[in-house]
C-alpha cells in the first residue's frame, strides 16, 4: 500500500495558445481556451497544474511566458511549465514570469549535463524531468520532442541518471497508454518509481477513478498526471464550451446528462479508499 502523499495534477498540453488533447502524444484535438480550464482546475482543488507546450521543441519556440504571467495572477497553486526549455536563460525567464517548476524532456535527452547545471543553479526541486517511455516489441525506450524521436535508451537507466544529476522529480509518461483512457502502464511506472529516491508522477492512461487508485496502490508514485479524464468533463462547465476552430462537431456531440467535477469526485473517491490526499 502506497503511504505517500498523493498530488493530483491536471496536465494541459498547449499548441499555439490553445489547449489540445492527443492520443499517444499525437493526433491532437483542440479543446479550447486553456485559461478557462486551468481556472476551473484551480478552483476545484488541483494540487498543481502542469502546462506543456507540445510543439515548442520541434519548432524551437518559447510561447508560454505571456500566458503564465496571466495565469500566475489568478492561480495560487504551483505551476509546472515545460516545452522547449533548453538553457539557463530560458529557465530564468520562465521563473520570472511566474512558473514554479520547470519540466524538461528534449534537452535532458540531448544533453544530460544540462540537468546537472540547472539543478545546481535553481535547486533540485525546481527541475522536473519528463521521461516519455514507449514500448516497442516488449522493450521500453525513451523519446524526445513529444514522442517524435525514439532514442534507444532504457527508461530505467535514464531515470537513475537524471536522479544522480540532480533532477528533483520525474514525470513518467507512457506514450502507448496516453490518451486512450484504458489505465496506466503499471509495469514501467513501478519499475522506475521503486528504484528512485525522488518523487515520481505517473502520466498517461487515466480513464476512470479505479485506474488512478490502481496506479497509486501498485506503484511508489507521489503524484498522478491526468488530462482526458478532466478535460472532457470540465468543458461542460463553460458557457462557451467550444473552440472556434478544430473538430467542433465532435465536442458538441459529447453530451452529458449531469455535469461531473471529476477532480473533486476523484479526490473524495481516493480519500474513501484511505489514500493520503488533500481535500
Amino acid at each position: 500500500m502506497n503511504k505517500n502523499f498523493i498530488r493530483i495534477i491536471p496536465f494541459l498540453d498547449i499548441k499555439n495558445g490553445l489547449l489540445i488533447k492527443g492520443i499517444n502524444l499525437d493526433g491532437f484535438r483542440i479543446m479550447g481556451e486553456p485559461s478557462l480550464f486551468s481556472d476551473f482546475y484551480n478552483k476545484s482543488g488541483a494540487d498543481e497544474i502542469c502546462y506543456i507546450d507540445a510543439v515548442a521543441s520541434l519548432f524551437g519556440t518559447l510561447n508560454l511566458t505571456n500566458f503564465i504571467k496571466k495565469c500566475s495572477k489568478k492561480i495560487f497553486v504551483p505551476l509546472n511549465i515545460g516545452g522547449g526549455i533548453n538553457s539557463v536563460d530560458k529557465i530564468n525567464k520562465m521563473l520570472g514570469s511566474g512558473a514554479d517548476k520547470i519540466v524538461i524532456n528534449t534537452a535532458a535527452v540531448e544533453d544530460p549535463f544540462f540537468i546537472k547545471e540547472a539543478s545546481r543553479i535553481f535547486g533540485s526541486s525546481t527541475i522536473t524531468v519528463q521521461i516519455q517511455t514507449i514500448k516497442i516489441n516488449n522493450n521500453y525506450y525513451i523519446t524526445k520532442s513529444s514522442g517524435r524521436d525514439i532514442e534507444k535508451i532504457s527508461p530505467k537507466d535514464f531515470a537513475k541518471k537524471m536522479q544522480d544529476y540532480g533532477a528533483g522529480e520525474i514525470i513518467i509518461t507512457s506514450i502507448n497508454h496516453e490518451g486512450l483512457k484504458k489505465g496506466f502502464d503499471l509495469k514501467i511506472i513501478d519499475e522506475i518509481s521503486s528504484k528512485l529516491q525522488i518523487p515520481c508522477i505517473a502520466h498517461g492512461g487515466a480513464g476512470c477513478f479505479e485506474d488512478v487508485y490502481n496506479v497509486i496502490n501498485k506503484t511508489n508514485i507521489t503524484g498522478v498526471g491526468i488530462a482526458s479524464l478532466f478535460h472532457y468533463e470540465a468543458m461542460h462547465y463553460f458557457k462557451k464550451i467550444n473552440p472556434r476552430i478544430g473538430n467542433i462537431n465532435y465536442l458538441k456531440s459529447v453530451k452529458r446528462k449531469k455535469k461531473i467535477n471529476t477532480i473533486k469526485e476523484l479526490k473524495y473517491f481516493l480519500k474513501r479508499k484511505k489514500i493520503n490526499i488533500r481535500l
Partner: protein, 205 residues
C-alpha cells in the same frame, strides 16, 4: 479608509517573485519589490527564495542585503518574513553541498531531510505549539511544501509550528521576536495560503 499594510519584497535574483508579488496583492497588501539602491522599509519585509543556499548567500553578499536587514531590524515595528530558502537563510549555517554561513539571525543549522523520498514535495499540515485564537483556523489546513533541507533551531522555543514528514517532525515555522519564517510556500498554497499571508501580523504577538 484604513491604511494598507506596506510589504516590501527583497529580490535575490533567483526566485519566483511574480507569484509572491501577486499573492501579496491578493492578500490586500500594498506591495513593492525592493530596488537596488534603496533601503528596506515597510511594515513587512519578505525574503523569498528558491534555489540553493550558497547561491542565495552569494546574492545577499553581492547586493549588500545583510547590512540592509540589520538596519531594518533595528527600527521599531519591523517584521522580517522568510519563505522557504528565505527561512533557511535566516539561520547560522547550512550543510547544502558544502558548509555555508547564513545570515545568522537565528541560532541553528540547516541539514538534509532524513527520508526515503527527497525532496519533500506536496501538501502537508502544521502542528502549532501554542494554540492561540488566530491560529485555530490554520489547524488541519494544507500548505504546499517543496524542499530538500530542513532547519534545526538550537533554541526549541523558536519553533512556532512543526510538520510531520515520513514519520519525523521538522520545524516548519520559526519565530524569534520580529523574525518569522515558513518552510512552506503560502503564495502557492491556494486560498489557505492567502489567508495565512493576511494574518501575518497577528502572529507577532
Amino acid at each position: 479608509m484604513k491604511k494598507k499594510i506596506k510589504v516590501c519584497i527583497i529580490n535575490l535574483g533567483i526566485n519566483n517573485l511574480h507569484s509572491i508579488y501577486n499573492a501579496c496583492l491578493k492578500a490586500g497588501y500594498s506591495t513593492r519589490v525592493l530596488e537596488e539602491k534603496e533601503k528596506l522599509k515597510g511594515n513587512i519585509v519578505i525574503l523569498p527564495g528558491i534555489g540553493s543556499f550558497s547561491s542565495g548567500m552569494l546574492s545577499i553578499k553581492k547586493k549588500k542585503i545583510k547590512e540592509k536587514i540589520a538596519e531594518y531590524l533595528s527600527k521599531p515595528n519591523s517584521f522580517l518574513y522568510g519563505i522557504c530558502l528565505g527561512m533557511q537563510l535566516l539561520f547560522k549555517k547550512s550543510f547544502e553541498f558544502k558548509k555555508t554561513d547564513g545570515l545568522g539571525l537565528i541560532d541553528g543549522e540547516v541539514k538534509k531531510i532524513n527520508s526515503r523520498i527527497v525532496p519533500h514535495m506536496g501538501w502537508n499540515t502544521l502542528k502549532f505549539k501554542k494554540k492561540k485564537f488566530h491560529i485555530k483556523k490554520f489547524i488541519n489546513t494544507y500548505f504546499y511544501f517543496v524542499h530538500s533541507y530542513i532547519c534545526h533551531p538550537k533554541n526549541h522555543d523558536n519553533i512556532f509550528a512543526s510538520t510531520c514528514y515520513d514519520k519525523s517532525n521538522f520545524c516548519s515555522i520559526v519565530k524569534k521576536k520580529n523574525i518569522f519564517g515558513t518552510q512552506f510556500h503560502p503564495e502557492k498554497s491556494g486560498l489557505s495560503g492567502i489567508k495565512f499571508l493576511k494574518s501575518l501580523k497577528k502572529f507577532l504577538d
